[in-house]
């Protein structure tokens, strides 16, 4: 029954993935909107006031999702970059390239929301706790990845070099995180820590989970959208690009 066999590798070429991505993107936006609406509803209209932090704790409904996404995206990005390096597939490397800016944005939002959470709770805009400090270093790792890609002219060389950087980064993230925790506990003790979340009511957890799913779907949608632009940029002189429906008017 060869008709029912899905040839997954058919989609590993930019030419076939471009239209597929185009069809998938609206699905992910819809999912993101649904999860987001549900998550925000629970977060702002169902979850109760916190005993110690009042209404200010509601920032976790965005802070935790973007933090998780920033770390998750880095992992996924490094995986795709590694696959592109080992199997020499262009599309995998392009996927890594399209994930990086979204991941960097998540890291930045994590720092921003972390600061906005820390100011009312602990009095300062910045707290050198393990999580925020590691998040800052993660942002640097993202920026380094993007900078290296931008600075090498040959696209395949840029793919491979940044893949190595991403893989080195992945190995280093746990080391860095551990060393920052070590540094933090020696200097400050555990008194100041954003990782001490308020004791979670069931609804709070649900809100966080739904918002995380929202940001996950959003990241996929955004990465796929950017991937389509990257595919066009890098495959500009190929046959299938000239036959694109978007360019039909020119061809007439």
């Amino acid at each position: 029954m060869s008709g029912s066999v899905i040839h997954w590798f058919r989609f590993s070429s930019p030419a076939t993935f471009y239209p597929l991505a185009g069809r998938l993107i609206p699905i992910f936006w819809t999912l993101a909107a649904l999860f987001g609406a549900a998550g925000l509803w629970i977060g702002f209209f169902v979850a109760p006031t916190d005993a110690t932090q009042g209404e200010g704790y509601r920032i976790i409904f965005v802070h935790v999702p973007v933090s998780w996404m920033s770390m998750f995206i880095y992992l996924v990005m490094a995986t795709w970059a590694g696959i592109g390096l080992v199997f020499n597939t262009r599309l995998s490397s392009m996927m890594a390239q399209s994930l990086a800016p979204t991941g960097a944005l998540m890291a930045f939002l994590s720092l921003w929301t972390g600061a906005f959470w820390g100011k009312p709770m602990w009095g300062t805009w910045w707290v050198w706790d393990a999580r925020l400090t590691s998040e800052l270093i993660l942002l640097f790792l993202y920026l380094g990845f993007m900078a290296l890609q931008a600075s090498i002219d040959d696209p395949r060389r840029a793919d491979k070099a940044s893949a190595i950087l991403a893989l080195v980064g992945v190995v280093n993230v746990p080391i860095i995180y551990f060393s920052v925790i070590w540094w933090n506990t020696l200097h400050q003790g555990a008194s100041v820590s954003l990782t001490k979340a308020p004791s979670m009511a069931q609804t709070m957890l649900w809100g966080m989970l739904l918002m995380s799913l929202c940001y996950w779907m959003y990241s996929i949608a955004m990465a796929l959208t950017r991937l389509r632009a990257i595919i066009l940029e890098r495959e500009a002189h190929t046959e299938w690009v000239t036959r694109l429906p978007e360019l039909a008017e020119v061809r007439r």
Binding site: I137, S151, D154, K160, A161, I164, N172, S179, V180, W182
Partner: protein, 222 residues
């Protein structure tokens, strides 16, 4: 493999000896940067004693960063690196020799000069001794990690600034454990934990860095 590494080391040292000024540049940079901190903060000896380990470590880190591109850039420019990659001898061994040469020229002088800077900051004798030990363990690790960064940025636009952006996040654990060891000692806690972690990083880098750098060099040469 050792002979390849020794040959590479010998060659790089020979090349550096012809331009001795480069050795002193990194050294002077180390001293100047370390001296900037008291000028910026104030001469209070109690405060300086407290910040000394961190300041000296950061200065050593930045001085190491300065000399990193030299490991590979000139060989890349005149085609020698390509010949090295094409030869049947192990590229990792050659890179290891280059890293060792870099450390001997950029790292070891810092270790030797650190006690003098330590005195400038009024550090006690035992603290200075510990500081020298951490630098002895840490600066080779910095050279090794830096070589990976240098091999990734061969022929890339952006030069030293790009290399710094890539390498500094990776340097942070070394900095934390190195300076932390001396800080722990000054606080009366033991430095053994920090030192073992520093040693672990050293071993980890020694095992993987030359190989990763060799792979990156081959990629950059494509």
């Amino acid at each position: 493999m050792i002979s390849v590494m020794a040959a590479s080391l010998h060659r790089d040292l020979l090349l550096v000896m012809r331009r001795k000024s480069e050795v002193f540049t990194a050294l002077f940079f180390f001293v100047i940067v370390a001296s900037l901190f008291p000028l910026g903060i104030g001469p209070d000896p109690g405060l300086l004693r407290k910040i000394a380990p961190g300041v000296i470590w950061v200065s050593a880190l930045l001085a190491t960063l300065l000399g990193l591109q030299r490991i590979l850039a000139s060989d890349y420019a005149d085609g020698t690196l390509e010949q090295m990659a094409l030869s049947p001898a192990s590229l990792s061994a050659m890179v290891a020799g280059k890293i060792l040469a870099h450390w001997l020229v950029c790292g070891l002088p810092l270790v030797v000069l650190a006690p003098v800077i330590g005195l400038q900051f009024d550090l006690g004798a035992s603290a200075i001794g510990l500081l020298v030990l951490t630098l002895l363990l840490g600066t080779p690790t910095l050279s090794m990690i830096g070589a990976v960064g240098a091999s990734l940025t061969l022929g890339a636009r952006g030069g030293g600034a790009l290399l710094s952006l890539l390498v500094l996040p990776l340097y942070i654990p070394v900095l934390i454990f190195g300076a932390g060891a001396v800080n722990a000692h000054l606080a009366g806690l033991g430095a053994e934990g920090h030192l073992s972690l520093l040693a672990a990083l050293f071993i980890f880098a020694a095992v993987f860095a030359p190989w990763v750098a060799a792979v990156s060099i081959r990629i950059s040469l494509e």
